[in-house]
């Protein structure tokens, strides 16, 4: 559902410096995709790292599985 904000792609590759944290990823996304960046800053879209909700300070390494998660709507 975020595809409309990132030109229809479902997977992104972002170059990040060694020792990068989630906030650095959010900053990079904000520059490239301002609408998505706003949603991330407002916490309307959250970041997960290795299938756990991450914080701004969560450290990132190359093999991490990172996902951008819009508001959940499971249940009925």
């Amino acid at each position: 559902m975020l595809k409309t904000l990132v030109s229809g792609v479902s997977m992104l590759e972002m170059p990040l410096a060694e020792g990068a944290q989630v906030k650095d990823l959010v900053d990079s996304l904000h520059i490239q995709y301002p609408d998505l960046g706003e949603l991330l800053l407002q916490k309307k879209v959250v970041v997960s790292v290795n299938q756990e909700i991450a914080h701004w300070e969560t450290a990132l390494v190359e093999s991490d599985e990172i996902a951008l998660l819009p508001p959940f709507a499971g249940g009925a």
């Binding site: 559902m1 997960s48 299938q51 909700i53 996902a67 998660l69 819009p70 508001p71 959940f72 709507a73 499971g74 249940g75 009925a76």
Partner: protein, 147 residues
């Protein structure tokens, strides 16, 4: 084909419909100490926030969704005086009136069964990466929040 463990069958994210009788039996069979069973069944309704809904599709984050449902079952078993908990959620296209989500709690007594059942569905909505698209006459809508 891998044989699912009985415990694995108690937490599932699946496309196909489920049989309430079969799932109820699965919980009952876990212990003869069970004396009260509470159940929440969520179904697809034809209205949402004042507009008509003709059908819907659920998407989930494979792996994380299962992980979160397992956590919910584990925490329910730890935090409430219950004997067993089953948590199922469907994904994919779902027609109006069909089953979406099922929580079944087996306990010795009703009070904890009711409490755990409510907690499980509330927690599922909060922490499980599942998304719903509703098809309406005004267009397709990703549902953003739930009461």
């Amino acid at each position: 084909m891998a044989v699912e463990t009985e415990e694995g069958m108690l937490v599932r994210v699946q496309q196909e419909n489920f049989s309430i009788d079969q799932e109820l039996q699965r919980v009952r069979a876990r212990s003869t100490r069970i004396g009260g069973i509470a159940m929440f069944l969520g179904t697809a309704r034809d209205h949402s926030k004042g507009h008509e809904v003709s059908s819907m599709t659920f998407e989930h984050y494979e792996g994380m969704a299962q992980k979160k449902l397992k956590e919910i079952r584990k925490r329910a078993l730890q935090d409430f005086d219950i004997i067993e908990a089953l948590v199922l959620h469907r994904y994919g296209p779902i027609e109006i009136g069909e089953n979406i989500v099922l929580i079944i709690i087996g306990a010795e007594h009703r009070a904890d069964a009711f409490k755990a059942c409510q907690w499980c569905i509330d927690e599922l909505k909060k922490i499980t990466p599942i998304w719903k698209m509703e098809y309406t006459p005004q267009g397709d809508v990703w549902v953003e929040e739930h009461p």
